[in-house]
Symmetry: C2
Subunit: 199 residues, 2 copies
């Protein structure tokens, strides 16, 4: 009991378990929350439980939502012929930020990783296939991360989606915009060369 | 509403207002809290309000405590003739970590800063003087930070405490242990020279 005050110790411990927050930062955050007016602290406390109680997964795309069907799936103006498959709800946010993609999403909530005992049944593959049952969807974009697990999941999915007569695509590899060739790794540079386009 | 989900937006906003936490980190923390089992999230939420409700200021030293008198002030084995005056409860934690200081503390909860409109009445000076009324206290250590406000507060307090017949001391300035002379600023080095001791 470093602080000699149990409620304070407990609050610091709660902050300390957050990812990327060490002992010193946890202490700083706990003292900050303590210094807030009571109603502000209440808002913080409520926001945690409120999010926990109200946020669930969209029945269609498995993205996080506070209603049965998320705002993207229920948006009539979106292109229903394309589904972008991502690992995590945060990836949806990243794509939405581009303001360019107008299709739908499917959130897997994980990647196939035999090392961690995660197979196709542990992520939302069945739900994706159910969405391809009628002929609405013409293209599935594999937008998993360019990691070993991301690649493996994209390969696995493409192998079961292609036979359904749906076009399967993968995000382009290449040098990041604003990046520096000097610092690009060999594989990325090779992929950028391979995927070169006429200008 | 970047996330299209109000409870999530609110949770991210709550994390974003914490000191040193930007938009990206706030998002990461919010998603982490969301991924916690419900009882763990409840613990986090409760810890905030619990700390807010139970933590108050010690009647004697103004340090944070969950009882009327803090554990340091009520500890019979501590040396009651010395009071170490600090700005913030975190400074008490820092001193306690040394395990060397056995006297009492007095937490000012601020420093005199005319620029910010903080005078002696806004910090706990009156309460410090009340503790010097009988003859128990023989020494007051000014342990405010070595900043302009810290110095000003130490000077101000020493001027009103000295006439009461109490010895007033200030923390030693010098090079930090494990530090490098090469990187010490001129003022620190000068103070270290000035405060040199025979070995």
């Amino acid at each position: 009991m470093e602080y000699n005050v149990l409620p304070l110790t407990r609050l610091v411990e709660q902050f300390e378990r957050l990812p990327g927050i060490g002992r010193k930062t946890a202490q700083r955050l706990a003292f900050f929350v303590l210094s807030l007016p009571k109603e502000e602290a209440q808002k913080f406390s409520d926001a945690i439980m409120d999010a926990h109680e109200k946020i669930k997964r969209c029945k269609i795309c498995q993205n996080l939502t506070d209603s049965e069907i998320c705002s993207i799936c229920s948006d009539e103006t979106r292109d229903r012929s394309t589904i972008c498959v991502v690992e995590d709800p945060r990836d949806v946010i990243a794509f939405e930020r581009t303001r360019e993609y107008r299709g739908l999403y499917h959130v897997l909530h994980g990647l196939i990783s035999p090392m961690d005992g995660i197979g196709p049944d542990q992520i939302y593959v069945k739900e994706l296939l159910a969405r391809l049952a009628d002929d609405t969807v013409k293209e599935v974009i594999m937008a998993t991360n360019p990691t070993v697990e991301g690649e493996a999941t994209a390969m696995y999915l493409s192998r079961i989606v292609k036979p359904l007569g749906v076009k399967v695509t993968r995000l382009a590899y290449g040098i990041p915009v604003g990046g520096n060739l000097e610092y690009a790794d060999e594989v990325t540079l090779y992929r950028a060369l391979e995927g070169r386009n006429e200008i």
